[in-house]
Symmetry: D4
Subunit: 217 residues, 8 copies
């Protein structure tokens, strides 16, 4: 396989961001091969969507990698010590959205951002959100992860002035259609300043948030 895969070792230098490997559909062997090569080049690489069982196989070969089980992420080095002075807030409606939110959190950290987790403050019981509103408003960028009705992104979007990245999750059942309900709601948000990423794309939300968080005046 190694001769087929076209690894992009110049990426970190070209874009300022480490390379990432999307682990879904890749075998443990493929992941090991890719991560070993980046490690040998002295480059940071972030692996996403890596199940606990795959991670175990990978770590047998590359024991220095760090695995984040809720986020299902593997990183081949220490998180950056130099972080942004400004913050990305990651807000979730319920605990079921945790895995996607943590994928965003780990990604944002690997990309050198300071983050603020505000979890399980969803629509039913809006008093929990208001209790955390100051923390959310202080962030430079806000990621809102929500499944089911996805209404939470509109509510948060109506309360803050920063850019809000709505992150639909596939949490739900029946007519949630694996995140479609949340996705459509977020695309139609009445609150302004909200943009949307793909369902369960915690990585993409964090990448975009990091780009915004690093914007200069």
């Amino acid at each position: 396989m190694a001769e087929i895969t076209n690894l992009d070792f110049d990426r970190q230098q070209r874009t300022g961001y480490p390379e990432t490997v999307f682990g879904e559909g890749k075998t443990a062997d493929q992941i090991i091969d890719i991560m070993r090569q980046f490690t040998q080049q002295g480059q940071t690489v972030l692996g996403t969507r890596i199940t606990a069982s795959k991670a175990k196989l990978v770590k047998r070969q590359l024991p220095n990698l760090c695995y984040f089980p809720i986020a299902r992420c593997l990183v081949n080095g220490a998180l950056p010590t130099e972080v942004t002075p400004t913050t990305i807030a990651i807000v979730t409606a319920g605990t079921s959205d945790l895995s996607v939110a943590e994928e965003a959190a780990v990604t944002a950290k690997v990309f050198g951002n300071q983050i603020e987790r505000v979890y399980d403050v969803g629509v039913a019981g809006i008093h929990r959100l208001f209790a955390k509103l100051d923390a959310i408003r202080q962030a430079k960028v806000v990621i809102v992860a929500a499944g089911m009705d996805g209404a939470f992104a509109s509510v948060v979007g109506g309360l803050v002035a920063s850019p809000v990245i709505a992150l639909p999750t596939s949490v739900g059942y029946g007519s949630s259609y694996h995140g479609l309900s949340a996705l459509l709601t977020m695309l139609n948000s009445c609150a302004e300043g909200v943009t949307v990423v793909n369902i369960d794309n915690g990585f993409g939300a964090a990448y975009a948030a990091s780009v915004m968080n690093h914007l200069k005046g």
Copy 2:
């Protein structure tokens, strides 16, 4: 046509509710024919989805009918003077949902309910909702009409203890898909006690609300 249509003159006695005529797809002549027969029987009849131009043609023949232009409803008699002591609140997110909300309002009135309109208090600018919350909480039943993201039904549902009937509207564009976005959001509402009716079905929401509002302890 009259010999084909199978009018149900026993309905009012059987169900306690006046007959209603769904005007969409019916010609002015068909509506005139049906409304004249019920009027001759001394029975109330409510016509819904009747455009202003059709209503004009109908009123030329039946000048005593009352037309509600925003609600697009025609009624062949006075609204009931005896109304419920309890109230149905009809809440909308924006002014665009007005036509559907008014269809619900006129229907509820024809069915003998006291109503409370709380319009244009939507998610973006949630302070407007909180200002009206007491009025909404005093209602026995709450109808929430919302298009676009439909998130408003979840927000209201999380704040009141009464039955909430979520009424998705086709207001919006693009990926609102003519109310699908709002419908899915409402079906997946994280707030409990919320049930849903068809898109733009102001009549159906009011009918169900009226049944609930007339429930005895």
Copy 3:
């Protein structure tokens, strides 16, 4: 995890309803943790969508919990002895809808309602429905669970005067599209007074029914 989950111990006092835990996607450990905390606070908690194998693990740690296998519900206490004088009828078309109907039944009981089960009286063989019609008509609220063609909700809705909550189930195959067929049929019901909840949402149907069943005159 415990420090992440934001448990709502004031809910029972605030809303009059016990807290509920949606078990799908939660591990046995997460469920044990949540249920133990509510039990320690002396509060009732209802767990839904909990598979038999998860329930077994939970009961090893919390043997006093009561598990309802068909309904897939766990309750941490005795059902309320004080129940409503009025009844919620739960009607199903076939035996395949039983699991969802029982989720509704257990939920309604936990919320203090008297219930009446009318199962397997579906459309093909309508004489079975007519034989049970009196029992259904005496209920203050009616839940109709049906998959496949979902026509049963319209039939029942056309025969009773109480509020009818249509509960589509994912029973079926092919173009039933996991409950979409039943959901659309129910949203378009020609019978009035029918409102709809999400596919397989037995809990939500019962919650809404309980709110209506507790309404005072």
Copy 4:
């Protein structure tokens, strides 16, 4: 155009059925051209989906044609005097389905069938259906046209022993999705012996019914 269109003058002899022309998307001139040629060959031809305004233009050139305005059909000759001893029942839930039902009725008559119209006996108010049940049961084949919830086909299918052709109509709004709701319901009918044709395909339903009605023992 005449040299492009490939008219099938042998059809009546080959299949025993007259040719039919689908008028939607054809100009009045195209329809005139086709109908004139068949008339000159002494063959019956049935035109469907022909609007009143197109029919007017056609009849100016071919005044002997007979136009059925509700069915939107044009026929170039007298209906057959020799008809089947057995009957096709055409049943509708409401008056809104009339146009599609009449397309079926005219088609069935052109194809030499005796028909029985049973209109406006829909689900809400099922007593109207039971009053006509004997007439429906005496038919050799039953067509059930219904829009909105489409539940009516299941109800009728559960009450008769003959083949039932379910004919979904695009009547409705919102989540009826122009007949999709009725179509899905009918495909998932719990009643057996039900087969389905395309939305609004009154012609196709009548064609299939005619084939069945002409079957010999």
Copy 5:
């Protein structure tokens, strides 16, 4: 469970057809219970959608049942010896549709029909179809099972004069969408006299075919 299930022992007498049990979603114990009761009543019962492993468990308790593995059907008695003089042809495009076609075949036999299997004669290589055309044309009713492009039903429908029941199957991948492609094609068939049943509904196709095959002149 036995007290919940509402078995319909009068069905065979009322409709002339044996009862059938839809096995999907039922446990082996439920199937055993139902089949035992019908057997004790001396009535034939047909079980469909019963996997080989479930059938094995059922047969341990009820060894006299007959299992058809390709059709996934269980029958509790001998097939009827008195069969129709006329035939139902069951035609498939490829071998992948075999399981659904055999469900239809077994059902048709249990219902007392003579059948003619014409398998694997699909569109690519149309000469195979023409070689079997006489056999198909001699049938009183034709069932055409096809997945993927579903075009086969139109082709056969254009070549025979009998009623054609199009039976879409979920065979395929990608944009076949589990039979949706075949279903839509069949509903839009240019060939007349074609009606459609649900995806993979071999039982329903055979039931409807049997009703037609038993029609008297």
Copy 6:
């Protein structure tokens, strides 16, 4: 507008193909402006999707343009006199697909191809196709335009050895879903060597066919 539009005058030289203008959504003035510029550059330009009324306005300003009303195409010069020795066959199932087929025909001619029209030879009445099969088989490339069931592309694809471009059309109603039924059928064609273009994309089919027809051995 002229300064906004970024006309590509080098295209003909770069690709060997004349520029084309997609007329839908453009005003007559915009079309006039673009066509005048290309004409002034001495370059051929093909306008597609231009209604008769727009074409009339354009021709008032640019009377030398040639308009093809069925194809809805405008060309600013003579068709090429030098054409390929090999042929593109354009085959349609019915006459309703004519407009799309003619868009393909005009496009193919503008691109210097010899074409062979084989129209109205569809599935119901397959003998008409066999009568023209030799002509179709002699073509180097075959375009098959079909709406409704789209089955025709599979039938033709199963009978020829050349590349077949399936061109779904939006002809139909109800569950044809504006060409979706035909599109899905064609994508799932059991016949090999079939590739597909967008619904109603006569231009695109002809462009691809022209590229193939110009391929050298």
Copy 7:
């Protein structure tokens, strides 16, 4: 109406952004009423989705308003003279996307941003994009409007380091499904840092871009 609409005169002070009025579905009278009130309060208001004919009626009453016909926007005052030092680039694939792009452009200007239009540089003919790449890379935020295949957003996203807001447009036909094709493509963009707004939501894209463009370091 005035007593129903709940105008938000504090918005400009609260959020720093002028109020906007979504003109679709509002009558000219409603627009006049709202715009007059804001004008009387001395506040800027931006009206979007206002057709030329409505704008004409509005300007008869409020002649000082400025109308942008391609963008279909009305503004009640001069554009801000104080603009951001940094730029929002608005990039389109073709000229058909112009109306949506101009809605974004006018909105961005009303909100005080410097903008850079880069129009008609789409995928087919990628050399046109490379010629403008420097201008695009200098922008702080990039909006990419594209319909049809929507691929352009991925291409641009892969070439710039700034936040990219993908703006799908409903330009296209057939299986573009009014922008769904572009929307899905953009949500699945392989390029990172891309977020998405609703189909044709030029206003929303510009609002979000403005929030990002005003971010401080």
Copy 8:
């Protein structure tokens, strides 16, 4: 089964192409049976969609077969030694599309084509594509396999003059909808000369490409 399956031994002679067996849904025994018969006839046969575990079972009985694990293909003979002088380029955006691309590659080789693999040169990092552009442009036919946003087919299509077969893959998650996003994008490609095959249909893409690659001038 052998007597049911209708093997087409004349195919190779009739069409010049070896028979192929679609392995999905077939048991190892069915595959063995079919492959043995073709081998005994001395004919080449290609099996596709055969999992590694099925292949292992087949090879136990037919050890001479050759299995390609990434492509999931089985061939019963040596690849043809006589190949086309012209080339089919197979281009992929990422490594995740490898399995589908290899199915195309093996198929193309079995059909006697020279191929050129250009893998992992996707949109994000377009410089990798430009580095390989010459190789792609030299091919007579180009297959572009891409999942997720599918934009890659448009990009390649805009850069080459040969026929491009767009091959959407089901790679992705969330709103990629198992290849629907890529499929729609490709059908709406702005680049001309692009035609499309079914999602993951590597075999079909290669078959069509082979037909084109064998075209004579």
